[in-house]
Symmetry: C2
């Protein structure tokens, strides 16, 4: 358990802040003039790295003025380490308090997509989630697909639908056919759901197969990720080629990229293998992270209820294993590729990462602290994810990952 690194900025030394000096997450913000600037969150402030590079205090080839972190990521690991070391130095106790002029209060900024999502892949790597969903759809004997313990199952998602926290989500229309319907109809999804996930961001490109160890080194950082899912559209469309429009309305990510470097002290091993993995998927060391996670729901502007508490470390496959598998066919990976972990559900009912599981397909509706009953998301509900790795007197937070559901478009 590592200790807090103290900063000359008092708000960064609080045990409550998500953004101590140990974190230094990367985001994109705007304030008065609306221009997109790149920054790092520190305490209750954001340090304007675009302005610092423009003034010659940082030198990363102009990538800090690009309004997205892709160009900086493409500089490679040496640049990643150099920027982190420099920021750690100047923001530490005894560092350069003259940099105060580059601080902007977080309360005064709008946060934007921190990077351009090149391609988006979603996985299905949570053992409990796969078992829960499988049980509901196929019964307890056939809960887990036969390939599941051998392959980090994944599918390609839709990069154009990834949005930053705070973006409203419009309830989708789609083809729906209930079990008792003769024919499908086109209308609003009535089983609109969320999925609690972590997103891993590829920072180093590859053109052929890479090992799990290489994959781990190629991941620049992580975000929280809510993969909104229309369960009724999914049920009718997904055979035989997988989910498509059910997952294409929106995927919300948190606005700060928490780097793999910041998460390094929190590395933890995947759970014990139930059956041995093939060599190309074997991990040379712990590659998951101990990150506490929560799902919240706030109905129509009212107080939030925490629906679920779990931890990223329950996942059966790490992002490094998923990325290595992703390249096994020779599939090229590019800077800015986003890999969703799959829904993170723990072993107990109150640690499930989707409403489908929490309400057991609607059979066991949830009562919110404000009194409302929910099986799926209703119009006006704000869904949120929270995440934090807990150190000794500090935490590595991700910032909010929220979205409010708005009514479907008229047909």
């Amino acid at each position: 358990m590592t200790d807090l690194k103290r900063s000359w900025l008092a708000s960064a030394n609080s045990a409550e802040t998500p953004f101590p000096l140990n974190n230094l997450p990367y985001g994109v913000f705007s304030s008065g003039d609306g221009a997109r600037r790149m920054g790092t969150a520190i305490g209750d402030q954001v340090l304007d790295l675009t302005a610092m590079e423009a003034d010659g205090l940082l030198s990363f080839g102009g990538t800090l003025g690009a309004g997205a972190w892709n160009g900086f990521m493409a500089l490679g690991r040496e640049a990643w380490a150099r920027l982190r070391a420099r920021l750690t130095e100047v923001l530490a106790e005894g560092g350069d308090q003259g940099l105060s002029r580059y601080l902007v209060p977080l309360a005064n900024v709008v946060l934007h997509m921190p990077f351009n999502v090149t391609e988006y892949t979603d996985f299905y790597a949570g053992r409990h989630h796969a078992s829960n969903v499988g049980t509901m759809f196929r019964g307890p004997e056939n809960a887990l697909p036969p390939n599941w313990l051998h392959i980090p199952i994944g599918y390609n998602g839709r990069a154009s639908s990834v949005v930053v926290s705070g973006t409203d989500v419009i309830r989708p229309n789609g083809q729906i056919k209930g079990p008792n319907d003769d024919l499908p109809r086109f209308g609003p999804s009535r089983r609109f759901d969320i999925e609690l996930e972590m997103g891993a961001i590829v920072g180093v490109p590859s053109t052929g197969p890479i090992t799990v160890a290489e994959a781990f080194e190629n991941i620049f950082g992580y975000v929280l990720l809510n993969d909104w899912s229309a369960r009724d559209i999914q049920a009718w469309e997904y055979q035989p080629l997988g989910p498509f429009q059910a997952k294409a309305t929106a995927t919300t990510i948190s606005p700060w990229i928490v780097t793999a470097a910041a998460l390094e002290p929190f590395r933890t091993a995947t759970p014990a293998r139930e059956t041995p993995l093939l060599d190309y998927l074997t991990e040379p060391g712990p590659m998951l992270y101990d990150i506490d996670l929560e799902v919240t729901m706030a109905p129509d502007g009212q107080a939030e209820t925490v629906l679920s508490r779990t931890n990223y470390s329950v996942m059966y496959y790490s992002a490094a294993q998923q990325l290595a598998h992703h390249t096994s066919s020779g599939c090229p990976m590019r800077v800015g590729d986003l890999l969703g972990s799959g829904t993170i559900s723990g072993p107990t009912k109150d640690s499930r990462g989707s409403l489908l599981e929490l309400s057991w397909g609607g059979k066991e509706p949830i009562t919110l602290t404000t009194g409302q009953i929910r099986s799926f998301v209703e119009d006006g509900d704000t869904l949120g994810l929270r995440g934090a790795a807990k150190g000794n007197g500090y935490q590595i937070g991700f910032g909010p990952c929220v979205g409010t559901l708005r009514p479907a478009r008229p047909i």
Copy 2:
């Protein structure tokens, strides 16, 4: 049936050329200095549009110097019509023969990816293909999935794996588990296949649902598309979330974007509906095209065999219907999105668009004219697609769509 438009360039007036004045497809080429230039194919020449814009003979905001057609597409339909009209005028009989100085022989150029693929979606819209594959996997009674006649079934593919004709393809390694194996193993695919498809390119972005009529207008043009597929990897991985690494090795496209404008005289209706479609998928007019297609195989540098002859018009869903469905959930579409039609198989054995179907899963191997026997693709085989819409004394061709399979990487 429309007539040949005659050009002052004699080679463009041949009934045999794929590139008469009626076509004017858009590509990216390089010659001596290696710089990527944008051009249109005319007869046996390519007209250097990058040089013409640099010299002030065309004015499209510098997009013709970008080395990819995305920027030009983003200018919108008025620009598309203006460039086509201008090229038709200056290359016609009585036009500007002084433009000869911008012609480069096609024989002397290397062709590159004509556009940057933003995202790639693959569909499954061939009635005969779906029935054939379904029969092999599930028996004739359950050949067609219950949603198939209602939904243009599609899944997200991998844009990073799309390559231009002429690019070698490396046989993928992957997880494979045969029906009699206890456990999966990791090794080279032994059932590596092709899929004959058309690719539609989105030229106008959209942020919410669009109609089929709007979708038709948003498609800039078409290419031939070979969706290389590892059937043994696919069989083990695809449940429950669809194909992933089986389809991520490579997808080959032809180098020339044949515009929707050039194909306009060849519009044809989709086949009669076997069951009515929901309103949002109904076509207001003919939106498929009458394009003759062929699949060829040339083993290890020897003479090619034509494996299959079919026509794009057999597809059950048009690209416009697929694009409209793609947006139904609110999924944003961007300039450069590529939509694969799905495998185009006709009703007869010699019109099937994949080796899986042609060799009926390996049970009925094919004998090539050179004597070799094939069930799937062998190392050294060159697979090719050809396509042409046939007018009165002319044809609209797509250029080659070929790739040679190279041995798998050592594990």
